[in-house]
Symmetry: C2
């Protein structure tokens, strides 16, 4: 499984405050803690006004890569910000994200095609967020035409099927798990990712709902998780689920992660 540490994100109030105050120590600490907790990528999202987004990204990226060796996920809804931001990174990481809106895919894939950067792709298009599993898988099919066109190996792609809040759903997570299964059935080496905590918007006891969702999404084939790696219960739940799925013989990784303090009793 792949953990994308989500904590350096200006949409989180405490991080926004640190960004505004140029509190480098706070950012550095978040990078180190997430790396120690086993994050495979450290997500960096400025969430500031357009005119200072790029300089803020550079400032954040410099702090993170001075502090840890973990690759960076450059995170912006603006594909051009991502393209500029990867130039500041001293090693390939994760381009987060593209979508089928406008020319985003072409612009981004052109920039990363001949690199080792991996890439998150959201399954929305100019028509918005598809409402059915079939429509999302159609958008996925369109995306994979582009992936092939730019000669990007599917294993470099992290497909985000778009996790929406559970509380407005009549059918639970069936649609999203159907999309996850459909994607993995077609491309076994591709990654399926998502922002786990989206599921619990407007629910009480969000951590519980997030954990239950992560277990079920992983069992459907999700193998890349945008989440807080400092949440020890959540990390334990992911290791436990891998073991339940028969991907951790004799639970050695689960036991090892417990011994390393990744999760707690």
């Amino acid at each position: 499984m792949i953990i994308i540490g989500e904590k350096i994100n200006g949409a989180i109030p405490s991080t926004a405050k640190a960004i505004a105050a140029k509190d480098a120590e706070f950012i550095k600490n978040l990078a180190i803690k997430q790396a120690e907790a086993g994050a495979d990528f450290i997500d960096v999202c400025a969430s500031v006004d357009d005119d200072i987004e790029l300089e803020t990204m550079k400032w954040l990226i410099d702090i993170v890569q001075d502090a840890v060796d973990t690759p960076i996920a450059v995170d912006s809804p603006n594909v051009y910000t991502c393209i500029e931001s990867i130039k500041y990174c001293n090693k390939p990481g994760l381009f987060n994200s593209v979508s089928l809106e406008g020319d985003k895919v072409d612009v981004a894939f052109k920039a990363i095609a001949d690199t080792k950067w991996e890439c998150v792709a959201l399954l929305n298009s100019d028509k918005g967020i598809p409402k059915t599993a079939k429509d999302r898988l159609d958008v996925f099919a369109d995306l994979m035409v582009k992936v092939k066109e730019y000669n990007i190996d599917p294993s470099r792609m992290h497909i985000d099927p778009l996790i929406e809040m559970l509380c407005t759903s009549e059918d639970g997570i069936q649609m999203v798990t159907e999309v996850i299964r459909g994607i993995k059935a077609q491309y076994p080496t591709i990654h399926v990712t998502g922002a786990v905590s989206n599921i619990s918007f407007n629910l009480p006891a969000r951590r519980i709902a997030n954990q239950a969702f992560a277990v079920l999404a992983m069992s459907a084939g999700m193998d890349s998780f945008i989440l807080d790696p400092l949440n020890k219960d959540m990390m334990g739940m992911l290791f436990a689920t891998e073991a339940m799925m028969g991907e951790d013989e004799y639970c050695m990784e689960y036991i090892g992660a417990f011994r390393e303090g990744i999760f707690v009793k």
Copy 2:
């Protein structure tokens, strides 16, 4: 979902101590707390020497039914103890358990056929615990011949596919989930039950493994759980999973259970 509260069991050291000391208040308190937490049955298992098992069962049953209205699960590996114990109960509950060993099924089904008692059936036979999903489903088929013979409605049965410890498994829980799916596919109204915490024997952070297993087992079709209903995280995980499965429209039950204090933030 059906919750079978497991705490009044002489195999648990604190309960054993209370049974030995004839501490009625301790037992009463366990009954009340489990009922308040939403248990559908209060399991009563003496776990004492044979010569005092029946009198101990009677003592426990009297305390529980004086304290709460929740039906009792009479729990003994000795089918005759169960048959005698149900005579002390003032309303139908759960016969826990029979198996395909010897004449247990015939003896038990004869006793409960014309009652409203529900019944747990373990999928082991005189040949021991079957090692493959196919073999367990074969035992299940044999069992269902008897269920039909005694004219017991399948909805009164709680099939226990036998949850074994994960840490000695190479294939995770695939075998047990295959058995669960196979049972529910054939008899949609039947219940599938199990002692959730068996999965985590010899593992660290057992509560984490138990929760991950419960989520996956429920998604496979398990709908009856022998567990500690005072474990608020576990109870929350079950309510969250029902919502994820689309069985709790707009999450109203999840939110309601949270408000009632069944689980915590």
